[in-house]
């Protein structure tokens, strides 16, 4: 638990620094102050997609190795991914409303494909919640986690495949399409969300491990240990 707290503390410091740098970075010549949302939007979307790829790798690892820790990692990573993607979508819509004039552009395949990806992983979480048996839950989720990741590269490259209103990647193999003065804020925010992602995954896997241990104890104890009922307590 101490390790999780340290990760959260580091993430908190980095997020505060990222926010300060985002607010003090130079404004964009065309978009003005609204461009500051870029630092949150891009970082959250990156880590949303990365989280789903981690889930895919962990799911495949579970199907091969059948080790419970891969299932815990897959589930924790999806939860973080859904959170980041949700934040990224909302921030992107606010940014879009400010600079495009519309929160949602139906001609933009990046928006539609991201929304689809988001709902598929909500389905993944619903599936996990619906299956009680840990082994069956891990197996079914692993299959869905591996299949669903096919969308991630499609979402990422959709801005290259179709020319739309959405801007293309900021970081490319041939360099960055960003002013050098803005880069420190961008990289500090990326680091902050990396730390937050690690902290969230660590916390969620820790909780999942505890939950598994508790259910094992309950199974082992059977009916030997029965919690007191409220009416019995009142009778006494």
């Amino acid at each position: 638990m101490t390790r999780v707290r340290i990760w959260f503390a580091l993430a908190g410091v980095a997020l505060a620094a990222g926010l300060w740098m985002a607010l003090s970075a130079p404004v964009d010549a065309l978009q003005g102050v609204w461009f500051r949302l870029f630092y949150i939007h891009v970082s959250t979307m990156w880590f949303g997609m990365l989280a789903f790829l981690v889930t895919a790798v962990a799911s495949i690892a579970w199907l091969i190795r059948k080790k419970q820790r891969w299932d815990r990692l897959a589930a924790a990573s999806v939860e973080a991914g859904v959170l980041f993607t949700g934040i990224g979508l909302v921030v992107g819509m606010i940014w879009g409303k400010a600079v495009w004039g519309v929160a949602w552009d139906w001609e933009d395949p990046r928006l539609a494909s991201t929304a689809v990806m988001f709902f598929v992983y909500l389905g993944y979480l619903a599936l996990r919640a619906a299956v009680g048996d840990p082994e069956a839950r891990a197996r079914r989720s692993a299959v869905l986690g591996a299949i669903a990741a096919v969308q991630v590269p499609l979402v990422y490259f959709s801005v290259n495949l179709f020319r739309t209103l959405h801007q293309t990647q900021t970081v490319r193999p041939d360099g960055m399409t960003m002013s050098p003065e803005m880069r420190p804020a961008f990289f500090v925010n990326l680091l902050a969300f990396t730390l937050l992602y690690v902290a969230l995954v660590q916390a969620r896997t820790f909780v999942a491990k505890r939950e598994e241990a508790r259910s094992q104890i309950e199974v082992a104890a059977g009916d030997a240990v029965v919690p007191p009922r409220l009416d019995e307590v009142h009778d006494v």
Partner: protein, 224 residues
């Protein structure tokens, strides 16, 4: 060959069971046609608008009610039927393929009925175009949706919330199928190029088939 023979037999049994239960033809198809009445009643008899949105309404209902057909109760294996298949030596991959084929046949019939009903109620513009290409696009769409729903049905098999859960998985993942089929149909109407959209449909179908066959075994283990 053994796999295909088994798949054919599974599809045949599925269709016989469905023929007896009649869920698709007696319940879901009339429900879908009734749903076509909702928009004109809510919007008012604006004929120009109905002509304009006819194709969109068709594809929306095709996905929503197509999912219901592909996830129909008769395609939900009971433990007894699953045991019967297992003891008969039926490969899980053959069961996936067979179920997909039976779903494709039912969906194709459903889409034909829905198309005629949409034509009658909305009168959308339908150009002569290339009819075989349109039929092929519809069959590829039906196959993809059936494969996706079979896969989602297996992932959520035996769960109390199976219907809603499988639909939540199928609806967003069916996007390439809807895009491919709707754009192919629209392209035929406009005499525009349809190759890329048809290829998208075909590629999605192939990918779903490969994935379905690959994961059929592990998903079977999840239920045992």
């Amino acid at each position: 060959m053994k796999l295909l023979r088994q798949a054919r037999e599974v599809a045949r049994v599925d269709l016989v069971v469905e023929g007896r239960v009649g869920e698709t033809l007696r319940v879901i198809v009339p429900f879908a046609v009734a749903a076509l009445l909702v928009l004109p009643l809510a919007q008012g008899p604006n004929l120009a608008l109905l002509r304009q949105v006819g194709a969109a309404v068709f594809w929306t209902l095709a996905v929503l009610f197509g999912m219901q057909i592909a996830l129909r109760q008769s395609a939900n294996d009971t433990d007894a039927r699953r045991d019967f298949y297992a003891l008969s030596g039926v490969d899980p991959a053959a069961r996936f393929l067979g179920r997909t084929v039976s779903g494709t046949i039912l969906l194709t019939v459903f889409l034909a009925v829905l198309f005629l009903a949409t034509l009658a109620l909305y009168d959308p513009p339908v150009a002569g175009g290339d009819l075989p290409a349109l039929v092929l696009a519809v069959v590829l769409f039906a196959y993809g949706l059936a494969a996706l729903a079979t896969l989602a049905g297996e992932v959520s098999a035996g769960l109390r919330s199976r219907g809603a859960l499988a639909s939540l998985i199928v609806a967003p993942l069916s996007l390439p199928l809807v895009l491919g089929a709707a754009q192919t149909a629209a392209g035929i109407g406009r005499d525009a190029g349809i190759l890329s959209w048809s290829l998208l449909l075909l590629a999605t179908d192939i990918a779903l088939t490969v994935v379905g066959i690959a994961v059929a075994g592990p998903l079977e283990e999840a239920r045992t």
